[in-house]
Subunit: 349 residues, 2 copies
DNA sequence: GACGTCATTGTGAGCGCTAACAATCCATGA
DNA sequence: TCATGGATTGTTAGCGCTCACAATGACGTC
């Protein structure tokens, strides 16, 4: 039974009640060997009796370890960042670390710098920055911090920042060659914002795949990831149907949703008239009209690998150079690229 | 220019370099009055020179304040929880607090208890639990913790836990009476999991609205929030078309997406044959086929209010009883309930 | 029976900061 | 001129914990 007290009990209180020294209490809590069972039991009893909890600040001060990691992210309501965040926290917790998050509306040098400051004030031992914009990665490179920083989701960045990301180039290849293999002569591309490294990498992969097949890449369209921007681009794309447009690779699923709607409203049938491929595999994609062929990014692996990498850095394990970890994406084929509609099955994550 | 050192510089180092006592350094950092400008300048110079950063653990130990709050959540990749989380972090940061998050796959007494322990080890001063399941709220009620806990998103819970949530009852009323006002004789309801307080509250609101109009509520269907479960329920609902079913109120947008698809596949037209209303207003709803009429929950306000409430508790401000804060939802009318399709406009958040 | 060895427990000194109080300086007015 | 008091700065004592080392006790060996 916990006793109500003004001051929470300290290790010394426990020690006194158990009739041992505070150091012995510390040993019991730290699972040290060389503590007699009888003593351990006495101490544990006293701990329970007082409702004692170790003071984390004192512990951190003495050990110089806070066991806290930081994450800086933006667009955390989007599926990708949210999934990554989730995996990061889960992996960190499994290693006994706490994760403090700063969610930014915009990633600029100023906001990033403030975020790192804020996390630093909180005593984090390392930070993962979910920074898909190239500008953010650049900003990070010039900001020096007293702890290690790992960049996630910034495609394959230049510079020497340790990073973890999905191989966007490969993803774009999968999407594009899938359409080519289905018999399309040309593949249009609706890209994300130019500043996003992922968007740029997907453009490169798309273009390379076409050129390797001796196909001249058609005009590139840009959106801002939102369904609305996809809708607008879709209206434009609809105008080219009948003039060679039969296949579109859209840089994310949300924009693909907008494209599908625009095409439908223009009387263009998917996939009969125009095939559409998305990117991300958000849980909804399977239920679009028609269900969307897309490229799945394994955000969970991204999260786990980035924590593993950050902990290598934090705990000072030897690493060769600035590690770059690339995760392979996967093509998921659904009805938006074939003229038949498979039934959905299985449970969504 | 920061000097590389083995040990990060301490306040004493700064004091020595500036030729003052460490206490004066502390005063400068703490923005105390009664420090001569000249002294302040000297100290600030020394701080910059050494690249000094205050040690948060030592500070926390001395002040007995960690300025860290915790959040326990589940389903953080869903729009609702993710939005709430974002608003919480932003509001907390504005007040100078750091936020540590624990994302759970399932909210049970065990996982919740472990999460609170983990956060407690991290020294949080208070916790917000995003706990939409009734069982989670109950678990929270029986778990005693050494810090204040605020529940978010659990509908209007019983018991005396401080809580913040959207008025689900009102939301369900808005949806249901909108359909009745449009001339429907009866309104079906696809609910969420029975264990979710929000789902239960929506059922109550739906049923009350019908009964007040002297309408006998039809059979209630249950899903699990996923598009897939909506799809399956939609197949069942399609079977009742022609037997009185003309309007469905679906408890979230994702399931509504599945319903729309099932209806479409069954040759049922929306909204001509069957009108559909969702709940949440996720960014994609506007681009469903057809665009979805839904009930918008202001998660941002939920986040802000919950931080304000938690800080009242943490900082010991007087509060009457166990505060219950209810936020009003809003109906957003789109094409799924009217036989015409307005163009999308404006920028999505 | 003295001694070395191992297991177990205790002691003392910080970790780097803030709070409370003490000391100093300087201008003011009697 | 000297007391008076506000502004400024310094001194000391913790905050609650872990680390390094010292002390104790039990046991077996020669």
């Amino acid at each position: 039974m916990a006793h109500a007290q003004l001051r929470p009990p300290t290790m010394a209180d426990v020690a006194q009640l158990a009739g041992v020294s505070h150091q012995t209490v510390s040993r019991v809590l730290g699972d040290h060997p060389n503590v007699r069972d009888e003593t351990r039991t006495k101490v544990l009893h006293a701990i329970k009796e007082l409702g004692y909890r170790r003071n984390s600040s004192a512990r951190a001060l003495a050990t110089r370890r806070t066991r806290t990691l930081g994450v800086v992210a933006s667009n955390t309501t989007l599926f990708g960042p949210a999934s990554t965040l989730f995996a990061i926290e889960e992996a960190a917790r499994a290693e006994g670390y706490l994760v403090s998050t700063v969610s930014l509306r915009k990633l600029t040098v100023e906001t990033l710098s403030e975020a790192l400051d804020h996390l630093s004030e909180g005593g984090v031992e390392g930070v993962i920055a979910i920074a898909p914009q190239r500008s953010a990665v650049d900003a990070l490179a010039e900001l020096s911090s007293p702890f290690p920083v790992v960049v996630v989701g910034g495609g394959q960045p230049e510079g020497d920042i340790p990073s973890v990301s999905v191989d966007q180039h490969l993803g774009a290849r999968l999407a594009t060659s899938h359409l080519l293999a289905a018999g399309h002569r040309k593949v249009w591309h609706l890209s994300g914002p130019e500043d996003w490294q992922e968007a740029a990498d997907r453009v490169v992969g798309w273009r390379a795949t076409l050129e390797e097949s001796g196909i001249e890449p058609p005009t590139l369209l840009h959106g801002d990831w939102s369904p609305l921007s996809g809708y607008r681009a879709g209206q434009e794309l609809a105008g080219w149907v009948g003039r060679g447009l039969t296949a579109v690779f859209v840089a994310n699923d949300q924009m693909a949703l907008g494209v599908l709607r625009a095409l439908r409203e223009a009387g263009v049938r998917t996939p009969k008239d125009v095939a559409v491929v998305g990117f991300d595999d958000i849980p909804e994609s399977e239920f679009f009209a028609p269900p969307l062929t897309t490229v799945r990014q394994d955000f969970s692996t991204v999260g786990k690998r980035s924590i593993a990498l950050l902990l290598d850095l934090v705990e000072g394990r030897a690493l060769s150079g600035a590690p770059r970890i690339a995760i392979e994406p996967q093509l998921v084929v659904r009805a938006s690229t074939f003229p038949y509609a498979p039934q959905p099955e299985g449970v969504l994550n």
